[in-house]
């Protein structure tokens, strides 16, 4: 299945958000997620299912003004 991860199309194995984050190498990382422009809290990742064409954003702490 293909979804957009941070603006790039990716073929993914896992449709569960928590499992996908692990698949993408984000396990135990400080990050936040948004699915189709809506915030998905950490507590909801395990119960969030992705579907074809979804837009997933994964963001991390960064420098800012």
């Amino acid at each position: 299945m293909k979804i957009l991860v941070n603006g790039a199309w990716r073929e993914i194995e896992h449709v569960n958000l928590q499992a996908l984050l692990r698949e993408l190498g984000y396990e135990n990382r400080t990050l936040a997620t948004a699915l189709n422009a809506s915030f998905v809290p950490q507590t909801a990742r395990a119960t969030t299912t992705l579907k074809e064409g979804d837009r997933l954003e994964i963001v991390v702490p960064m420098q800012g003004g």
């Binding site: 400080t30 936040a32 422009a37 963001v59 702490p61 960064m62 420098q63």
Partner: protein, 260 residues
Amino acid sequence: MLKCYDVELGSRLLLGTARYPSPAILSEAIKTSRAAVVTVSLRRELGSGRDRREGEAFWTLIREAGVRVLPNTAGCHSAKEAITTAQMAREVFGTHWIKLEVIGEADTLQPDVFELVEAARVLSDEGFAVFPYTTEDLVVADKLVNAGCRVLMPWGAPIGSGRGLNNVFGLRALRAHFPDVPLIVDAGLGVPSHAAHAMELGCDAVLINTAVAQAADPVAMALAFAEAVAAGRRAYLAGPMEPRDMAVPSTPVLGKAFLS
């Protein structure tokens, strides 16, 4: 002491963390500035694979600095985008403080005040402590306060421009109109005298990023800004004289020897 959302801040200088030559210089600049608050953001991590560690390294540096963080919604162009970013920031940084930026114009990075007020209302209702990046417009400021903002962050000049205070009259009016709302001048300050000027007008604090980060010596510039902010604050409390158009001799005229 400056109080924002019931938190006492030990410094009237807030420091941005972007555009420094290196993480070590950023770390040193934070220390030297004695800033009590630094701004941070949320971004996608560049690169791929499991070796991505840029965000983690930055977050460790900030935690070690022992300062309070103020996450921003930089680059957002709509209320919805800013609200989602704020929600993500609250989870990642563990703070309900948010510097709310909704950009409306690409050349000046001027805030879209209509979207800003809308986002401020939603976020305040969700329990956020909103620090809105706004213009010096009194009516907008009034709407932001009514939306739940207990701090205002008027711009000095466009972000990163280093022009100083573009509208001194507007900032004075804002100060007079909102005597009890902390005013933090955000954006556009280029040199320490700009910061001192903002403080002399009675603004409560300033937020500096580019002027420190892009200085030839950011650490030395951080100290210069800290001193300027302290001097400007002292001057405001001391009550500056009123300017006038005509000269007034400072040396007494009475008693001058008659020599012509």
